[in-house]
């Protein structure tokens, strides 16, 4: 058993840390979040040059053969700076789905382009009625000639506006909550019949609602086997949750550091407020939550590589539940300990609070994962 990083992993960590330090001062991040795009194409290029966009892919598909541990290292350190580039949407989710289920020609057409930083992806799985259930799919894909026609509404698709291709879950057979009968399609963003409503999210990122109205795609758009999309989605969403958990760990650690420094500096009643015992204990609780979350995130990154699906999914739900609770607690308390200063847009702590709030919700909130865990454990 070993939780230590290898030399190579340490180098990766240092390099992400340096990138965040150079590019993600709170002021720079605020500016970037406010641009039309919401992130920087230059940063994206840089990430490609550093090899980060190819790291999670296996060598067979042209990647650098990293594991979930390397992804977690990157995400944790990006979380520290609240990095805005769509690494999760393009590499972990979109790229992950193609690498896992794609045909040889789909892999060849997409993965090298992703690795080079030339192509961006998004994953449209949620629908207005689905909440967090991946199997709740009402979008339909009907066979037509030698292709499909898609109709439906996908909600809150992160980074859809900047994606070249959007991977859409749609039902090719069965009832709206059946596990079987869900298929995945790779749809070009500019396909006729696909319309987007783009908007900002509270965490400073971008998302869209997508309407599919008689969207025609060829049979080569089908990703994986027809009707067998759910296991692929589950496996990639598990990886996504592990990445999000790592991101949250980085965000929590930094939020705690910022708060810790603040209560040492801020004086009231002639003394630093960090001298008041009630704040000391609160800060200790925040620290402990972050520590426990780091352990769960590391555990999950290592267990993701295991073959036992039951074990893996229990680890996913346990980690997400712990990290969801911790994110809420640390986010809220770091505002509280800042007093009025925590309530301003200009000061950075509120942005950590907001990203942690969305992480708690994405891919299933705390209650959802407690339920999942209970079902898996019984």
């Amino acid at each position: 058993m070993d939780f230590e990083l290898s030399d190579e992993q340490n180098m990766l960590k240092d390099s992400v840390e340096r990138f965040v330090k150079d590019n993600y001062s709170p002021e720079a991040r605020a500016k970037l979040a406010d641009t039309e795009l919401g992130f920087s194409k230059d940063h994206w290029k840089k990430m490609a040059e550093l090899g980060w966009l190819g790291l999670p892919f296996s060598e067979e598909v042209g990647g650098f053969g990293g594991t979930a541990v390397e992804t977690a290292i990157m995400m944790e350190n990006m979380g520290s700076g609240l990095v805005l580039e769509p690494f999760l949407s393009t590499v972990v989710m979109g790229g992950g789905l193609v690498a896992e289920a794609g045909s040889q020609s789909q892999i060849e057409a997409i993965i090298p382009e992703v690795i080079e930083g030339n192509m961006m992806l998004a994953f449209a799985y949620a629908e207005p009625q689905s909440r967090f259930d991946l199997n709740d799919v009402e979008t339909r894909a009907a066979k037509s000639g030698d292709g499909y026609v898609l109709n439906g509404h996908k909600s809150v698709v992160y980074h859809a506006a900047t994606a070249d291709k959007i991977i859409v879950s749609a039902r090719t057979r069965g009832g709206s909550r059946d596990e079987d009968g869900i298929s995945l399609f790779i749809v070009d963003n500019d396909t006729s019949g696909l319309s987007r409503r783009d908007y900002r999210t509270i965490d400073g990122q971008r998302a869209s609602d997508i309407k599919l109205e008689d969207v025609k795609v060829g049979s080569d758009a089908l990703l994986g086997q027809e009707g067998k999309g759910l296991p692929v989605m589950r496996s990639v969403v598990d990886r996504t949750i592990a990445a999000l958990c790592a991101e949250a760990v980085g965000a929590m650690r930094t939020a705690n550091n910022i708060t810790n420094e603040y209560i040492k500096e801020r004086k009231q009643f002639g003394t630093p407020i960090g001298k008041f015992q009630v704040l000391q204990h609160r800060m200790v609780d925040m620290y402990m939550e972050a520590e426990q979350s780091k352990s769960m995130s590391d555990m999950l990154a290592m267990k993701l590589e295991l073959d036992d699906e039951g074990e893996r999914r229990k680890a996913v739900s346990a980690a997400k539940a712990q990290i969801g609770q911790a994110s809420k607690f640390i986010g809220e308390q770091s505002i509280q300990l800042h007093g009025g200063m925590g309530m301003t847009d200009e000061y950075s702590i509120g942005h950590y609070f907001k990203r942690l709030t969305t992480i708690e919700m994405l891919f299933g909130n705390t209650d959802y994962h407690f339920k999942q865990y209970a079902a898996l454990a019984s």
Binding site: R131, T344, D345, G350, T358, M361
Partner: protein
């Protein structure tokens, strides 16, 4: 001890209901129900309707324009207002400075300001906090130096809510730097149009503009604008804070939030069923409801004590702590009930001019804005840590 309503009380309830059903403007109601900040115009329009009905200041003595309601009637009115999503009057004039003026002000001040508060002719803001003086309010540094018939005020206030709309600010200023902190403070009423005052916006983490910095640069304030005696301002300030803490529990609004949660949950789905049937959701909401009921009856018990001439010490601190914690749990659960539609968020001014409905179901517009803003509920009005300090010292003698 008696909890029942008399026939007169029930008739009064019907009267309030009827009034709200016919007089509350739909746009004002909609913003209030969603938990959005009122617009200046809408709030004033509504307060003028309230004043015409004679209901602007339920807590004022009758001689100054109060309603003369019994505590039962006040309770009924608050409950009906909450249920109908009718905004209560902004606190700064009617709940904060008004009572200070009629309790400690002179006749001229009463004659001049009280009718204008009732008729919403002046929008007031509260100039207490400073960059270096938040929880430790008595350390405030803004100085007022006597120069003939005027004070010359220099310094800075911060977190001044809605100062951008204000005609008047009530300020704590230091008039004696040599005395003990609490003994060198005076309470001034200052016209926001006086030369030397600058208001600078602070954008909140909700991306909205409710907070401000207010700078005073050689601002000349007539001595007649001082409340009570020079250097006795702390007494008046504390009196005001005591009032602030009672209103801050906002029980009626929280009861409306419980109703909203039920409405939303019946329209949302979770695990293929109605969210209203989700056991986790039911548990959370039920816990909040029972806590809210405990708070409600605690508040009523305290009000009854006051009505019977008993003195309270730090009991209002309890109402503030419990009330704000419940408000935050409610907005948290509201956001949670939206599922993924909790994430889309834009400041209101980003929508202005775009003529586009917000994303997601209609009820998704509001909860996140309120959730973000109400993180402040445990900070403002004396933070909850400070309130606990007060209870431990004044009630428990620790």
């Amino acid at each position: 001890m008696d909890l029942s309503f008399s026939k007169e009380d029930l008739a009064f309830r019907d009267e309030v209901r009827e009034f709200l059903a016919t007089s509350l403007p739909a746009d004002v109601k909609d913003r209030c129900d969603r938990g959005l900040h009122p617009t200046k115009e809408g709030q004033i329009r509504w307060q003028k309707i309230l004043n015409e009905k004679g209901w602007m200041a339920p807590n004022w003595p009758k001689e100054y324009g109060g309603t003369g309601w019994t505590i039962t009637q006040k309770y009924i009115a608050a409950h009906e207002f909450g249920h109908a999503a009718a905004p209560i009057a902004l606190p700064f004039g009617v709940s904060m400075v008004g009572p200070v003026i009629y309790t400690f002000g002179n006749q001229e001040q009463k004659d001049k300001y009280l009718p204008r508060i009732l008729n919403s002719d002046d929008w007031w803001c509260q100039g207490y906090s400073e960059p270096g003086s938040g929880s430790d309010l008595a350390s405030l540094q803004t100085r007022a130096v006597r120069d003939g018939d005027h004070y010359v005020v220099n310094g800075q206030k911060i977190w001044t809510s809605f100062a951008q709309n204000a005609d008047m600010i009530f300020c704590l200023v230091r008039t004696d730097s040599n005395a003990k902190q609490q003994e060198g403070i005076s309470f001034l009423l200052i016209d926001m149009k006086t030369p030397g005052i600058t208001v600078k916006p602070i954008i909140g983490l909700d991306k909205e503009h409710s907070l401000n910095e207010v700078f005073f640069d050689d601002v000349r304030v007539p001595v007649e604008n001082r409340i009570g005696e020079e250097n006795k301002g702390w007494t008046y300030a504390k009196f005001l804070l005591g009032n602030e803490r009672t209103g801050i529990a906002r029980v009626a609004r929280s009861k409306r939030q419980v109703e909203r949660l039920r409405e939303i949950a019946s329209l949302e789905r979770s695990g293929g069923r109605s969210l209203a049937e989700d056991q986790d959701f039911i548990n959370k909401l039920t816990r909040i409801e029972v806590d809210l009921m405990s708070l409600e009856y605690t508040e009523l018990r305290y009000l009854s004590m006051i009505a019977n001439g008993k003195e309270l010490t730090a009991e209002p601190s309890l109402l503030k702590i419990k009330g704000t914690e419940i408000q935050q749990r409610l907005t948290s659960l509201l956001v949670e009930s939206l599922g993924m539609y909790g994430a889309p968020y834009e400041a209101e001014r980003a929508y202005a001019g775009r003529n586009e409905a917000p994303v997601g179901p209609d009820y998704a517009h509001g909860p996140m804005a309120e959730h973000l803003y109400l993180r402040a509920a445990t900070i403002y009005g004396g933070s909850n840590e400070i309130q606990r300090n007060i209870v431990s010292k004044m009630v428990l003698g620790l």
